[in-house]
Symmetry: C2
Subunit: 201 residues, 2 copies
DNA sequence: ATATTTATGTACCATTCGGTAAATAAATAT
DNA sequence: ATATTTATTTACCGAATGGTACATAAATAT
């Protein structure tokens, strides 16, 4: 089942998957513009041509690191949408986000939120990519809340899009809070406050 | 009353106040690292030595532009704390923030939030300055809510610090939302939702 | 008129930026 | 053994970065 046929030329001395993980951590911690190619190659232990051969460009590497981030560390976000009720979706989303955003062994804050909020004109594409992902999340959450309304666990007078924007906004704000040093306990207290005032509890 | 005594040397051909306003707009729109000194001097119509003579360094200029921003465009934030009740403080704060963050003639988002969230290690000082200002706001709001509790317009079981963090988090999230293109109407709807679920209404 | 003071414009500094050309090293195919 | 293929290392590219030395221009003081 494994790849038994040996490749033709000189073997790579680095694992692209491991390098992607390293890139993710650096972009996560310092953003797109705050991370230089030299820092990336230093951390990966490779030279620049190897990076460009494997990933194309800094921007492509960022995109791939972003995919890696979405499929890995924040997979819990889309998983939370599978909870049975709107309340439990939001409960799980917020509480898991707090734990994630304040985890001791990973950068503070969410890469999708802090990766590139304001940037030079040249880097606007990256900024918009991240904005697109945030929008996708909000759209998915809206759809999930609409389903909840059909299934009767969300009051009919609540606007799902507005509620989704509310949760997305809180989530984005929590990312800033965590990146600025807010404690896990304080953010959990805040989550409790939000859930205690949930429209349909 | 005016400054009648003529200064000694060659007169300045630029107004430092106007230049500070220009710097504020650029930093506001593109952040600290996303704005280059060359872009600043171009927009101001001066040469670099004039900028350095007037403001010291890029970082000092940013600090002064930040003061200008806090004293000007977002003076309404501390002004909102003067409203008579906790509910009206928050109502004014959120609704005015939405109008401010989505104003058509100014950059989207709040400079204190988007000025430098993630950045290279070298620029960590600017990031922390902004985090400090956000913390100051949250602390002021906490104090205001404590006063509200003493004055009886906020239920005793509510934790002012938690409630203040909640509002601050929403505010920070709204900045990201606005910077990402959220419409004024959608954000006002969201504000309405928040206020309708206010703990002590 | 001349000296002094201040701000200007020009030209430059070392460093870093993202990215690449070219030579070389290490593997397999024949 | 030799050719071919692939990835490596080294060295470099032009442009942009934040910041400054230096000569000059424009004002006042004497």
């Amino acid at each position: 089942m494994a790849d038994t046929k040996k490749p033709r030329g000189r073997p790579s001395k680095f694992d692209p998957e491991a390098s992607l993980e390293i890139a993710m951590r650096l972009f996560w911690a310092h953003g797109y513009e705050g991370t230089s190619v030299a820092e990336l190659t230093d951390a990966m232990g490779i030279n620049k041509p190897s990076l460009y051969a494997a990933f194309g460009s800094k921007e492509e590497l960022f995109e791939k690191a972003l995919q890696h981030y979405i499929a890995g560390p924040i997979a819990f976000v889309s998983a939370a949408l599978d909870e049975p009720t709107a309340y439990r979706v939001v409960e799980k989303l917020l509480s898991e986000s707090v734990h994630f955003l304040t985890a001791p062994d990973t950068p503070r804050g969410c890469m999708v939120n802090t990766g590139s909020l304001s940037c030079s004109k040249e880097t606007a594409a990256v900024k918009e990519t991240l904005a697109k992902y945030r929008q996708q999340f909000e759209t998915s959450l809206t759809a999930r809340l609409q389903r909840a309304q059909r299934e009767g666990d969300l009051p009919g007078q609540t606007n799902p899009a507005t509620l989704a924007k509310y949760i997305a906004t809180l989530h984005q704000g929590m990312s800033t809070q965590a990146a600025s040093g807010a404690s896990r306990e304080a953010l959990l207290d805040m989550t409790r406050l939000v859930l205690d005032n949930w429209p349909s509890r």
